[in-house]
Point group: C2
Chain length 339, copies 2
DNA sequence: AACCAATATGCTCAGTTTGAGTATAAATAG
DNA sequence: CTATTTATACTCAAACTGAGCATATTGGTT
């Protein structure tokens, strides 16, 4: 076996918890083009260029029996967090996703994982920080109605990207993709196309990562003019995050994963707020209650929660046996109303 | 960067086409513990131990800009097939998934891909063969009613696996998992849990791969006694196939991927047969027609198909604009009737 | 020519699910 | 004591779904 086919394999984790009705991910700060494998978490030499990054750890082929065990091991070591629910997302292997490859570094593959944590287990973290995932993807949060950033920045910028197309056909193609991804031109907004949207913005050069990857040869002035849609991240970490959001939004429909983010007992409103936080859209309260109760997803405990402002709510727990009863127990999301 | 963290990365492809109402995958024959990287497709020295294998190719970090390009390249080189639709499935990295690791070989990671081909593009293939995927997973095909293999072989074997559990609690746990995965004990059969089922059978030692992986130290007599549930495959290739089936069955519900398997125009029965083949369950003809027509998935062409035995059917084509209209255009599958 | 087998297509109908809203109950704050 | 807030129960129409009947159009048989 020749050496040329060897690559370096790392694992990236989107570690998620929902606190104060916000989905938050664990992020580190680090230099974008600097040490990628923080064996000692050494701080970056050039603080001006620090960027948010997903936690990262190498696969140690000698030690780690499985990929998932590898992930659990270094997450524990780096952050002290003992992750529960873990799911593989996607393997990212484009050349130059790690910029040091350009300077002769090895080809770096990254396997993305999603981990769900209960709110109370987020104590540790070391240098890590919990940040709302909508800081990185602000156009995905429709809980307060259509995000203003869409009309104010995103749509005009996408429009001029369409104008910039080579010819009429290319422009038509761009228009088509944008309409479907962003629910424009009469198309509905599809909450699951998170990755499509991010990739389109990247392609259109509307996220800082795109400008960065096209080479730092441009003038500083030009770079400053580049739009800053959402908080940027290291490497392709925002793409990994977008993958995680897509996956999770899809999955809550047919698997009871939400409960991995909740304490053992909770009120129905708490549950609803978590689902809304993930889905990025508001839900009809009474219908949501009907869905989870009649759907057999939860069981009342008879106990009441401490006052949350109004009438006390009953505490519920996840009804595990639902798995035996229905093939796809989850919370279906309604289509967003047209505008 | 230390050398110990380097691994060998390969790509496995589940290349699928539906012909004669059967979903078929492209397979090679090769020695189970022999050369894993068929640079020259060299035939195996010990024909007695030949097993079916998924097409495989290495990632060449120097040449391949992206993983998908790598896949397309070696599939073209090896089989002459120019794949269209391609989708990444999962990355498999358990130690010893390639048995040569035991003898000091490098850690081998495999990234599984799913590719969908039109029926007419399956000419080439070289030494490769198209084989029905239900040869490998016969318990997944419910088109002719509940598969006999379930009652005849699978359920008794799973029952005795439950009996073999350490203690009552462990047995209870096994019972629970089996009921949910195989729709026993009142639970419904869930067509999407293909991977769950395969992994359970593997764990219970009911597929040949499990016997093989536990070491070839056992007597030949014992091995012969091992059940042969479905046609075995090389390494963990059947697991990859199970992942592909799971993914595809899930996806046809919300994305119009079926059309990747059909010619440009087709009759509604043809379309139905393909969906049935993938889902492994029969569908109600009139309702299916209503679903795809009212759902805006297809457009009539006005032309009629050559007689297929009865009244000629209208030819339809995929209605691409449906993507602009509905967020999740696909063919929802009904629950299978209880027994 | 009449009839049968096979497939295609149109339509009905009841049961369920879904989206939206009204009404009432039980707590706290002033 | 009243306004406010949250919880919970119930209603109603529209849409969707599962199941089946009925009719249409072909080729082959008698």
């Amino acid at each position: 076996m020749s050496d040329h086919s060897q690559v370096f394999v790392g694992l990236n984790a989107v570690i998620l918890a929902v606190t104060e009705e916000e989905p938050r991910i664990l992020t580190l700060r680090r230099g974008d083009h600097s040490v990628a494998f923080p064996e000692n978490q050494k701080p970056d030499p050039t603080p001006a260029e620090l960027v948010d990054a997903l936690p990262f750890g190498p696969l140690d082929p000698a030690r780690d029996r499985t990929l998932e065990l590898a992930l659990r091991a270094w997450v524990r070591e780096q952050t002290g967090i003992e992750v529960g629910y873990v799911e593989q997302l996607y393997t990212f292997g484009d050349r130059n996703r790690d910029p040091r490859e350009r300077e002769g570094g090895p080809r770096v593959l990254s396997i993305g994982y999603l981990s769900l944590c209960h709110e109370d287990s987020i104590a540790g973290g070391g240098q890590a920080r919990w940040r709302p995932w909508y800081d990185y993807l602000p156009w995905e949060d429709w809980r307060g109605g259509r995000p203003a950033i869409l009309e104010r920045h995103l749509e005009p910028a996408l429009d001029s990207w369409i104008q910039d197309a080579e010819d009429r056909r290319a422009a038509q193609l761009r228009r088509e993709r944008i309409d479907i991804a962003f629910g424009l031109g009469g198309a509905p907004w599809d909450g699951y196309r998170v990755l499509d949207r991010y990739e389109l913005l990247y392609e259109a050069g509307l996220v800082r990562e795109a400008v960065r990857d096209r080479g730092a040869t441009e003038a500083a002035g030009e770079e400053a003019a580049a739009p800053r849609l959402g908080r940027p991240m290291c490497f392709d970490h925002r793409r990994i995050l977008a993958t995680a959001v897509s996956r999770l939004r899809g999955k809550i429909k047919y698997r009871p994963v939400v409960f991995e983010l909740l304490p053992p007992t909770f009120t129905l409103l708490q549950l609803q707020r978590v689902v809304e936080a993930l889905a990025g859209q508001p839900l009809h309260k009474q219908n949501f209650r009907r869905l989870v109760e009649k759907g057999g997803l939860v069981d009342g405990t008879g106990k009441l929660s401490a006052g949350t402002g109004g009438r006390p709510a009953e505490l519920f727990r996840f009804r595990r046996v639902v798995l035996r009863e229905r093939p796809t127990p989850g919370v279906g999301l309604p289509a967003l109303p047209e505008h």
